[in-house]
Symmetry: C2
Subunit: 197 residues, 2 copies
């Protein structure tokens, strides 16, 4: 019964995506061959190229999924009915938690983005900019209300915070002393403390 799922019941495209995500994070995009991916997913190359246009396409799908989830979560926190300090703190902490919970995705995101074809890279960058701008708007809102310092341009503050998020996949270890939530609280705290007037 070769029909979209295997013995485990998981659809083939999802199996391919999961295998690719893991392998890209472990070895990098260029060092992962299409052959490895299909073997890990228990299918053949034909199956992969039936669902995805190219190896590049597979990588793009990983990004699209991450971006969609993060944008949704940011919109949720930014749109809450609460003081801007609370909204920013929760949004800043949430992106840390979800990044840690998907460290493979984060690793791929920051390490392999430049491997995307130019047009796909452009697309990802523009979606990423949307996210960045939503976050920046939150900071500017606080600056206009006078609850955040104006000492640093909001743009730079955003890059400062997301630098640390980016960096997580380099140093965070699940078996370390801090839970994801603890790390998130600390990093959000550092951000809010830096923004004190």
């Amino acid at each position: 019964m070769p029909r979209t799922t295997d013995s485990a019941g998981t659809p083939v495209p999802q199996r391919l995506l999961a295998a690719a995500t893991r392998l890209f994070a472990e070895q990098g995009y260029d060092r992962t061959s299409v052959q490895e991916i299909v073997e890990a997913a228990g299918v053949t190359k034909g199956a992969l190229y039936h669902y995805f246009g190219s190896k590049d396409d597979l990588l793009h799908e990983v990004y699209a999924r991450v971006l969609r989830v993060q944008q949704e979560r940011l919109d949720h926190f930014a749109g809450m009915d609460a003081p801007v300090e609370k909204r920013l703190r929760e949004a800043a902490a949430d992106v840390v938690v979800t990044t840690i919970e998907n460290l493979d995705d984060a690793m791929i995101f920051f390490r392999s983005m430049h491997h995307l074809s130019p047009e796909k890279n452009k697309q990802v960058r523009s979606e990423r900019r949307r996210y960045h701008e939503r976050f920046r708007a939150l900071i500017e809102e606080g600056q206009e209300q006078g609850v955040f310092s104006r000492a640093t341009p909001a743009d730079l503050v955003v890059d400062y915070h997301f630098g640390s998020v980016h960096h997580l996949s380099t140093w965070y270890r699940p078996d370390g002393p801090l839970t994801p939530q603890e790390v998130a609280d600390h990093l959000a705290d550092l951000l809010l403390r830096a923004l004190r007037p």
Copy 2:
């Protein structure tokens, strides 16, 4: 006169290293072929393998150079005769300036480190830890003196700051509105502000 230098007078090993640095930053380690490097340096593969044991060796040399310079500079600033706040601020700003002045190196460092062979990777990591610990000691010194907040573990603060340094190669553009020194001052300021008691 095939003797260690070419028409421009630069020694062959340095020319190879410079070409490799530029190409690794532009295209990534895996996508840069040895052939491209030697062509950019104006020699042949025989010359490269005469001076370097492998392509991997070449990458390792790039790291070693960066680490040596950064460690020297940090030791200089940390050892100054000045209050700990000033020493930390200057060290934090300096690493930003030198990173921006060598964005190619930074790009390679954070994007390609996992391409190193396991033993070379281990070596780089241990040298990097030395740097991290020297920086952390500076923060702990301030915490013990009571001039820095103890709210966040010093380790996390270091990762927070170096996340933003790491991130520079992603967003900083030389033709942007901010000079390297301005960016450095802002980022050092954010760090010091976050550390206010």
